[in-house]
Amino acid sequence: MVKEIERAGIPVVQMCNLIPVATTVGANKIVPTISIPYPLGDPLTSKEAQWKLRYHRVGVALDALTEDVKEQTVFKVKI
């Protein structure tokens, strides 16, 4: 699915936990998430902590859309 979007010339960032799956599938820009059932907010943490994490990682993904990368890249996140 990522490939079809990119094939159409639309830049795309995949946010997922299983980086090896994304790289095998052929995503070019990848931002890691924290798990499969709750990629962007651990229910055991506070709502505020979840929001911070989600806001940060989505921001990294948005910035990644503007990055001129030459190969498959996994972008670093801080929280």
């Binding site: 936990n17 299983l18 090896p20 890691p32 924290i34 499969i36 059932p37």
Partner: protein, 441 residues
């Protein structure tokens, strides 16, 4: 550690006056048996039905299977589950061979439940068509999950284990027809002859991905989601230390019966002292997050290396994201110089054209394939259904559906079915039974 499994070949199972085993016939007092199972108040409705190989009978939704066994020394057959936590894997256990106890929903199924056809075209899709199945057909008071797609199925699964042990009492004090012995010397205390053979471990990845407890495989009664890889004796696996959970699509599932008879362990035993030195089992797990998957692969590779393994077989109870655990583990072992073989099924889609595992690595260069979870299977109606056929379509079994614009619903009015292999009960026989493979067509 030395384990003796005393075998009793069951040629027939009948209801009778007394629960007893004689001349190959297991006779069950149904009333007493029902009363025993109903000691668990969560079982609200119950029947016991016997299904034999060759009958035109369809069983669904099947949740669990176990081989009837008993320990003459009174230790529990499933430690931490049917009794206290006591060590498994040594001493004597008696087993009723050629039959199994099945836990079947009287009405409701769930994602990991499966289907068994005892005869006809469908029989080839599961091992359990070859066994005499003593089916616990039950409904429970587990209202919180009645209409959930994911169910713990605790009452029915636990009834299966308890009833397997109950039936075992029929052979508690009898002399087995045959005794199989499983024995390995401690890893550092083996003869020179054995030591000079290439050393091999079996890495098992049982299903442990549900973060909420109650769905996962158990080791000595402990939920394997809260577990890190450890070194185990293969006898513990063969002797009831592990029981199956309730989550994985059925064709990828390892039932408790599978653990008790794990063919890959038996095969490694067969070669032990001849072509290999079988060190034991690294019991790993399957995880949800990448970090957890990495951590387990590190544990496994380190243990294998420290034990001096030259080779390893890795096998996973699952497909989809568990493939990531599987491939990571194979690659981590190869990275530390342990030669690997993997055993798992594939998911190449209904058209067969999809990537077979969700992650791939060229280091995984020796793989055994046991089936395609998404192969479509169409079967004619059966004369008799044990359980409830609609469950396949209605309840979100992994290989069934209520609606499809092209294929229609999984269950048709005449009782014929169309489903994915996914819902064949333990259909891909990943523990090693599978005579299926995957080929290019």
């Amino acid at each position: 550690m030395r384990l003796e499994i005393g075998n009793f070949q069951v040629k027939d199972v009948v209801f009778g006056e007394k629960t007893m085993f004689s001349n190959g016939v297991l006779s069950i007092n149904k009333e007493e048996a029902m009363a025993f199972i109903k000691e668990d108040e969560h079982i609200t409705e119950l029947d016991i039905v016997i299904a034999k190989p060759g009958e035109n009978t369809r069983i669904v939704p099947v949740k669990e299977a176990a081989e009837p066994r008993i320990r003459p020394d009174d230790r529990p057959v499933f430690p931490g589950v049917t009794g206290d936590v006591e060590s498994a894997g040594s001493g004597r256990v008696h087993a009723l061979k050629g039959c199994s106890v099945l836990g079947v929903g009287m009405h409701y199924g769930s994602f990991g439940d499966g289907l068994i056809d005892m005869g006809g075209e469908g029989a080839k899709y599961t091992l359990f068509s070859q066994l005499i199945n003593i089916c616990i057909v039950a409904d429970t008071d587990e209202e919180f999950e009645r209409f959930e797609q994911q169910k713990k199925n605790t009452a029915i699964r636990m009834a299966t284990h308890r009833f397997a042990e109950y039936l075992g009492t029929a052979v508690k004090n009898l002399e087995p027809e045959e005794i199989e012995t499983f024995e390995l010397d401690p890893v550092t205390k083996r003869t020179e002859e054995v030591n000079k053979l290439p050393s091999v471990v079996l890495v098992m990845q049982p299903q442990s991905q549900m973060e909420e407890l109650g769905y996962n495989d158990l080791v000595y009664g402990w939920d394997m989601n809260k577990y890190v890889p450890t070194f185990m004796h293969p006898n513990e696996v063969l002797d009831g230390a592990l029981i199956s959970g309730s989550f994985m699509p059925s064709s990828s599932k390892w039932s408790t019966y599978d653990f008790q008879n794990f063919p890959t362990i038996r095969e490694l035993y067969k070669e032990h002292g001849k072509s290999i030195n079988f060190l034991g089992v690294i019991m790993s797990n399957l995880n949800v997050s990448l970090e957890q998957k990495h951590r387990s692969a590190i544990f496994v590779a380190q243990m294998a290396k420290s034990l001096g393994a030259d080779g390893a077989i890795v096998t996973e109870e699952g497909y989809g994201n568990p493939d990531a655990d599987y491939i990571l583990c194979l690659a981590a072992l190869e990275d530390v110089g342990v030669k690997t073989v993997g055993i798992s099924n594939e998911c190449t889609g209904r058209d067969g054209a999809s990537q077979p595992l969700v992650t791939l690595d060229e280091k995984a260069n020796a793989l055994v394939s046991t089936g395609n979870v998404s192969q479509l299977i169409e079967l004619p109606p059966a004369d008799k259904v044990i359980g409830e056929l609609q469950a396949l379509a209605r309840d979100g079994l992994s290989g069934g559906w209520a609606y499809d614009e092209i294929l229609g619903a999984s269950v048709r009015e005449d009782g014929s079915i169309i489903m994915e292999n996914n819902a064949m009960f333990c259909g891909d026989r990943i523990p090693g039974w599978s005579t299926k493979t995957m080929k290019e067509f």
